[in-house]
Symmetry: C2
Subunit: 78 residues, 2 copies
Amino acid sequence: MRKAKDDNNQFLIGLGKNISRLRKEKGVKQIELSSEVDMDKANLIRIEKGRTNPTSLTLRKLAKVLGIKTQEFFEGLD
Amino acid sequence: MRKAKDDNNQFLIGLGKNISRLRKEKGVKQIELSSEVDMDKANLIRIEKGRTNPTSLTLRKLAKVLGIKTQEFFEGLD
DNA sequence: ATCATAAGTGTCATATATGACAGCATGTGA
DNA sequence: TCACATGCTGTCATATATGACACTTATGAT
């Protein structure tokens, strides 16, 4: 059982990995990115680790600072 | 003033329009889509009208039922 | 091995997305 | 006009994303 929940968790983990990868490609540290978007760094970590389910606007503000489109965070998912 | 907030609202409205358009392209009614994803129809309406800030998993389950990738909801935004 | 820096964890408070449900508005075809 | 279908709004309760902050663990350089 727990099939749907596991599936969702995999999705969130994949999303987090994309964010983490794109952040590193820009050479940005978690503390830097989080402070630039006025987000608590603990929250960014939770998102990158796939432990939380970020909202559209949260992803958008991260994308904006990284200079990419929100869409890119979903690359290769689903 | 209120620049960032307005900007976010425009983003959410655009996101909602994408969802609404893709739903209609599939010939699906709000009541049908919302019941298929086990979502309250009032919530789907709020999302399509851009009055709320949907989470990643909410978008994902809508995309799944519509047979598209979550990514597509963000087409043309940012 | 030590030290510094980056990443990660635990916990609580607050804001808000969503569920649930009742009712309203608008259009559209008979 | 009328009835019905579809879309939409208002309100409350609950679940959870996020902010805040203290603390811990990993990593890397010297």
